[in-house]
Symmetry: C2
Subunit: 154 residues, 2 copies
């Protein structure tokens, strides 16, 4: 893994700041539920699903309904605070804080589910060139490698 997890985690103060930015930038209202969701989402050490978040909050006795979690996660993705990763059609989406990180792609271990991140500027460039050749305007992209991670591959 090229990234150190803690390197990208925010402290409580930064999260409060981010929360305010999130709320005001979208003309939303401050609610206890949204604050709890944001606080928890931005302190996650790895990719998490809506359901993960739901159970974590429930365990911490700070219940928020699933509907609100889904609604808030969507807002956070639209506002570019969270990145959304789709592993497979029948599987729950995963989320991760963006927080100034550059775009990256994912390798997904089919055995243990581990998600390894990587970036390759040349690939990005070549994608863009392929798009231009087809007069296609890229708004977003997703590159996923499925296989076996180092430990699962012996």
């Amino acid at each position: 893994m090229s990234q150190n997890d803690s390197e990208h985690r925010l402290n409580s103060e930064q999260i409060d700041e981010l929360f305010d930015r999130f709320i005001s930038s979208n003309k939303l209202k401050h609610t206890a539920q949204r604050l709890k969701i944001v606080k928890r989402a931005f302190s996650m050490k790895k990719h998490f699903s809506a359901d993960d978040l739901y159970h974590l909050l429930k365990r911490e006795k700070t219940d928020v309904s699933k509907a609100t979690i889904y609604r808030t996660l969507k807002l956070l993705v639209d506002a570019n605070f969270l990145d959304e990763l789709e592993i497979g059609t029948r599987q729950a989406k995963f989320y991760e804080p963006i927080h100034g990180r550059e775009h990256h792609d994912h390798m997904i271990c089919l055995k243990c589910g581990r998600i390894v991140e990587f970036t390759d500027q040349t690939i990005e460039k070549l994608q863009q060139q392929a798009a231009e050749r087809n007069r296609f305007r890229v708004l977003s992209h997703s590159l996923k490698l499925f296989g076996l991670c180092a430990s699962c591959n012996q």
Copy 2:
């Protein structure tokens, strides 16, 4: 589009041959339903969903249940006769005949839904190298560019 559709379509005789190969290679049984599904799937001019196939067959008075369509499509994908494309987690999967075509990636128009295919050997190579750097063994991959196709982008 770099590919000519008709260039890759099979004639009736070739489909029969492919059907036999499909059945025998998997120790399956010849059934009217499977033949109908294979015939229709391999004469499709573009990507299709399970539901598309279901309605086409129904319209042609050759009813096959949805369950059987899903089961057969899965068999065809596993046997490497069809390629499966996931546009989004909550959307139906798309299928396309493989039939000797090389692997390709997709650009998906968010406005009209058009799917443009492309290949880039250098990208493939760089993906592999990125995987090796992480001692990750790639079994399959998916690269999708989302955006606006030439006509939708004016």
